[in-house]
């Protein structure tokens, strides 16, 4: 089967809401390939183009230029949508229908037979913890419950690709953990998952590859290690010094940090760290550990924002 998602030079221009003669570029020249069986995280600040990108992938809006294919089929075509499950940001439902009915509705539209649908509804409702609430109208559901039913409808037809826009929104910590486990389970089943989230730690934990968007452009794309700027990696080692000699050493070396009984030094490059380790060893002290410290995704995204704003 073809790659789940291929975007080639995709751009989207919108008319400026106040100045209709002006165009605003929401997504600019985006080219990425999302591979089968991987979890892809899309991050970026508000207005970065995350939701616009997902809407173009789903075929809700058309790109101004470029092409999008899903499993080799045109985005938005019924042939492509057959294989996709989608959870929009802040999903709304038909308030007078029950959880059971809404799954019947969307499952039927996905071409499921009545027999398959009956077992699938029970399975997914149990999975998202809503089986006991299956006959309640959705207007009586809390925000977290609506998010869960949103996830249930996205996976009811056992799609190959699941696209989740802010899946953790409205969930409590326990709910977030369950959704994370569910996403990892989907990956184990060989499904491809694309998720966008403002909770960067979730994206960092879950994603095989991360797409960082800034003002509609690709800021970074790859595994977490690949997207870390080399300048952001720091090198740290820890060592021990007798209490009686600490003051003298602190006076001599300014960047020593104290973490409980242990001391550590952070350097900007591996070479610098190695030289400092040699110095410490030559003084007869013991070095315990040494290695790189990678920034978190949050630090990377914020660092990029600051650079862009500068």
């Amino acid at each position: 089967m073809d790659n789940p998602i291929v975007l080639q030079n995709v751009s989207k221009l919108f008319t400026h809401p106040m100045k209709i003669w002006q165009k605003v570029e929401a997504v600019s020249n985006l080219s990425i390939t999302i591979r089968k069986g991987e979890i892809t995280g899309i991050v970026g600040h508000n207005g970065a183009g995350k939701t616009t990108t997902l809407k173009m992938i789903m075929g809700f809006i058309r790109p101004t230029s470029g092409t999008i294919s899903l499993f080799g089929k045109e985005a938005g075509s019924p042939e492509a949508l057959q294989h996709i499950g989608f959870l929009p940001e802040h999903p709304y439902f038909y308030s007078h229908l029950t959880a059971w009915e809404i799954l019947t509705y969307f499952g039927s539209l996905s071409g499921m037979s009545s027999k398959n649908l009956a077992t699938a509804k029970e399975r997914v409702l149990k999975k998202v913890g809503l089986y006991n609430d299956k006959d309640r109208p959705l207007r009586t559901f809390s925000k977290g419950m609506l998010q869960r039913i949103g996830i249930a409808q996205a996976i009811i037809h056992d799609p190959e690709l699941i696209i989740l826009d802010e899946p953790m929104s409205g969930l409590d910590p326990a709910g977030r953990r369950e959704v994370k486990e569910l996403i990892l389970e989907l990956k184990k089943q060989g499904k491809s998952v694309v998720l966008s989230s403002h909770i960067l730690s979730d994206i960092e934990i879950l994603s095989d590859r991360i797409l960082v968007l800034t003002k509609g452009k690709v800021e970074s794309w790859g595994t977490l290690k690949e997207i870390i700027p080399t300048s952001s990696v720091q090198w740290i080692f820890s060592f021990d010094v007798p209490d009686s000699e600490k003051d003298a050493l602190f006076a001599e070396i300014k960047d020593i940090k104290m973490d409980g009984a242990q001391l550590s030094i952070v350097k900007q490059s591996k070479q610098e760290m190695n030289e400092t380790i040699k110095d410490i060893l030559s003084r007869g002290y013991d070095v315990y550990s040494a290695g790189p410290v990678y920034p978190t995704l949050e630090e990377i995204v914020f660092e990029k924002k600051e650079v862009n704003n500068a």
Binding site: K55, M58, G59, F60, I61, R62, G76, P78, E79, L81, Q82, I84, G85, F86, P88, H90, P91, Y92, F93, Y94, H96, L97, E101, Y105, F106, S108, L109, S110, G111, P137, G150, Q153, A154
Partner: protein
């Protein structure tokens, strides 16, 4: 076909549970009740007065429901963003539109049957249970007219916002309902160019005189000069044209 039926089924379910519908139905019964109270004060055939008021109420409330639910039919989905969940499925936009239309039409059909049963209760009470049979073509005709109004409401709401769409639908409905009589009433009293405009309106807008048979039936003229096949054909043609036009606009629409 399965997609259309599925959308129709759940459109009907969602709407039939809407409290606004019951409020409108309650109001319809209130108006019929009021009409009956008035019959006690009038001289003449009570059954005819009940028929007149009853059929008039069925027509009026079916049209009101069709206009207000018709204009919100698609808008509500766009506003509440439920449309994202639907169009994430392998369904084509025309199937969605057709399903919505049929779901809404089913709702109106049930509403008409329900009100007809209430009317039959009154006919039984006033000693004319067989009257309802005479009026079956009128109920059918009201149903055809209401389906046309739904299609008109869907088109108007796909062109503009809900309120403007409702105003446009009401305006077109009223014009379409009176254009036939207007043409003949104004004949020779207005200038030739004004007459041409009235005639043009008759041909551009749906002409609801095709569905106006209740007066004939209430006042004993039967189906004289009325061909239900022509009414049906006219309604279906207009519905297909209106829904096709809606589809053209709907297909262009980006789901922002």
């Amino acid at each position: 076909m399965r997609n259309i039926l599925t959308v129709a089924r759940f459109t009907f379910l969602e709407m039939v549970r809407n409290k606004i519908l019951y409020a409108l139905l309650f109001f319809a019964f209130f108006v019929i009740g009021l009409g009956i109270a008035i019959t006690q004060m009038t001289i003449g055939d009570n059954l005819n007065v009940i028929s007149d008021i009853g059929l008039g109420s069925v027509e009026m409330f079916s049209t009101i429901i069709a206009i207000f639910m018709g204009v919100t039919l698609i808008h509500q989905e766009l506003k509440m963003r439920t449309i994202y969940l639907l169009f994430a499925r392998p369904i084509r936009r025309w199937q969605y539109l057709a399903g919505k239309f049929f779901g809404m039409s089913l709702l109106i059909l049930i509403e008409i049957i329900f009100m007809a049963l209430i009317l039959e209760g009154l006919f039984i009470a006033y000693g004319g249970p067989e009257k309802i049979i005479t009026y079956l073509p009128a109920f059918y005709s009201i149903f055809l007219q209401t389906m046309t109004v739904i299609a008109m409401a869907v088109l108007c709401s796909s062109l503009t916002e809900i309120v403007v769409g409702a105003i446009l639908t009401i305006a077109f409905y009223i014009t379409g309902a009176i254009s036939y009589n207007l043409q003949y009433a104004l004949d020779s009293r207005i200038s030739e160019s004004a007459m041409k405009m009235v005639t043009m309106l008759r041909y551009i807008l749906p002409d609801f005189s095709y569905f106006n048979i209740k007066d004939n039936l209430v006042y004993g003229r039967g189906l004289e000069g009325i061909n239900l096949w022509v009414s049906t054909g006219y309604a279906l043609t207009i519905i297909v044209i209106l829904l096709s036009a809606s589809l053209v606009f709907f297909n262009q629409k980006e789901l922002l």
